[in-house]
């Protein structure tokens, strides 16, 4: 591991001079409840993306494609604001294997 900087090398006052560094601090381990989204019910209204305080909702081309679990703290705001109740909060210890790595599952199995 690289040596951490000494007091003569650090910016004063505890300042961080590079922007966007919060991404390097992974807060997903704080989570008790994990959000899972039923993509058969989800309408891609993106209310979850709008309200998420940790920018942990993945969106690709206007479609909600799941969660960034490295940063999602499990606050449950997405589940609360979801107008079609497509998001459920599941205890980390009891999470099912139905969902993919980004937390998406399909309630209606497509043939």
């Amino acid at each position: 591991m690289a040596r951490e900087k000494g007091y003569k090398e650090l910016p004063t006052g505890g300042l961080i001079l590079e922007a966007g560094n919060a991404a390097a601090y992974k807060t997903g381990g704080w989570r008790t409840y994990r959000p899972l989204v039923d993509k058969d019910t989800c309408t891609d209204c993106l209310q979850c993306w709008l309200f998420c305080p940790d920018m942990s909702i993945y969106v690709e081309g206007g479609t909600m494609t799941g969660y960034d679990y490295d940063h999602c703290k499990g606050c449950g705001i997405c589940a609360t604001v979801c107008p079609v109740k497509a998001i459920k909060m599941v205890l980390e210890t009891e999470r099912s294997g139905d969902a993919d790595a980004k937390g998406c599952f399909h309630s209606k199995k497509k043939g």
Binding site: E4, G6, T12, G13, G14, L15, I16, L17
Partner: protein, 373 residues
């Protein structure tokens, strides 16, 4: 403050600071100074607004007293830790309870370990001089620490005395322009102020603060000398008054130095070798310099205008003893005086010098001067 023309002042009124801010707000209202004056709902908010404005890149000043400073406490530490060169004049007033509006140093002594530079003043002239120098000291790139010039409530703050002031342009030139390195308003170079700092880096940041406080000593001397070149009133860490050959020395802060000086003159006329050392700079503490200045004395009395409630003495007494440790054989006695604005009379000072001369200066615990039993 009018001559310095800070970008932002955030303040809340409290006796005896009220007069100071009252006058300044008149200057703002009359358009004589172009300061953004933020009137807040408490001192906690005042210091918070000062921190925000200073981080944004503004030159910031404020003033408070007593309970106001106590309410600011949390943010006072943050200002110093974020290395924001705010200048806050503290008009010294006793802390409650019981409620008291008059002078003692318990308010500013309470934040002696907060990382602020503290400059005490004997009279209105020194208050003016310390505030002007304070801005330049705080903003010096080797320092970047907030500065607290203090003055004794009512004794100095509500006294009319002639003060020599510089011209507006001279003050502006002396303090210079504040050029912050990392202003938050520089949106092209975004930085983070006040992030989480745990076991890995917090200690290093505290070490930086401690080092800045050490460097401040040299800067304070240089600026004190530059101010002397400009005004004829040079400043050091302390003023030595008839101490060179003195056998008995009183060490004190603030306005009481004037009274002690007059007693020293009176006793010198009677052939007694007495002197007074008036400490101007309490933070950083001039440890070695103090020992060199008064170590030759046979006995020293340290006058504290605050009680330390440590069963030993006031805040100044033990620090002076520690500065003299292994450097001087002098007996050192700590006296607590003037709490809640009680006068320090020449008679009390004579008693102290008599104690020193009579070999009664070896008390381990502080003596409370002029208190009734």
């Amino acid at each position: 403050m009018r001559q310095i023309g800070p970008d932002v002042v955030a303040a809340y009124p409290i006796t005896p600071q009220t007069e100071l801010m009252h006058r300044f707000s008149e200057f703002v209202a009359d358009g004589i100074v172009k300061t953004e004056l933020i009137l807040v709902e408490s001192e906690h908010s005042a210091m918070s607004a000062c921190v925000g404005a200073c981080a944004a890149g503004a030159r910031v000043m404020t003033a408070t007293s007593s309970q106001g400073l106590a309410l600011m406490w949390e943010i006072v530490y943050i200002a110093a830790s974020m290395r924001l060169p705010i200048v806050m004049t503290v008009v010294n007033r006793a802390l409650s309870a019981p409620i008291n509006i008059h002078c003692d140093h318990s308010d500013s002594m309470g934040c002696r370990d907060s990382g602020w530079i503290q400059l005490y003043s004997e009279n209105p002239q020194e208050v003016y001089d310390n505030i002007v120098q304070g801005v330049r000291i705080a903003e010096h790139p080797d320092v970047l620490l907030p500065v607290m010039p203090t003055l004794d409530g009512f004794i100095i703050s509500h006294t009319l005395e002639r003060v020599e002031i510089l011209g507006d342009e001279e003050v502006k030139k002396f303090v210079g322009e504040w050029k912050p390195s990392f202003p938050l308003l520089d949106v092209d170079h975004p930085v983070t102020y006040g992030p989480l700092d745990l076991q890995d880096y917090y200690f290093e940041h505290k070490k930086q603060q401690a080092e800045a406080m050490k460097r401040a000593k040299e800067v304070i001397l240089a600026i004190g000398k530059a101010y002397g070149d400009l005004t004829g009133r040079g400043y050091g860490f302390f003023e030595e008054y008839r101490t060179k050959d003195a056998e008995h020395i009183i060490l004190c802060l603030g306005s009481s130095a004037g009274t002690v000086k007059s007693v020293v003159d009176e006793l010198r006329d009677k052939g007694r070798k007495v002197g007074v050392l008036k400490l101007r700079m309490f933070r950083p503490f001039p440890d070695g310099e103090l020992a060199r200045a008064i170590g030759h004395a046979g006995a020293i009395a340290v006058l504290d205008r605050a009680e330390g409630f440590n069963a030993v003495g006031g805040p100044l007494g033990p620090e002076v003893k520690s500065a003299l440790y292994k450097k001087s054989g002098a007996d050192v006695c700590n006296y607590i005086y003037g709490l809640g604005g009680r006068d320090l009379s020449p008679e009390m000072i004579r008693t102290v010098f008599d104690d020193l001369a009579g070999g009664r200066a070896d008390a381990r615990q502080a003596i409370h001067l002029g208190v009734r039993e």
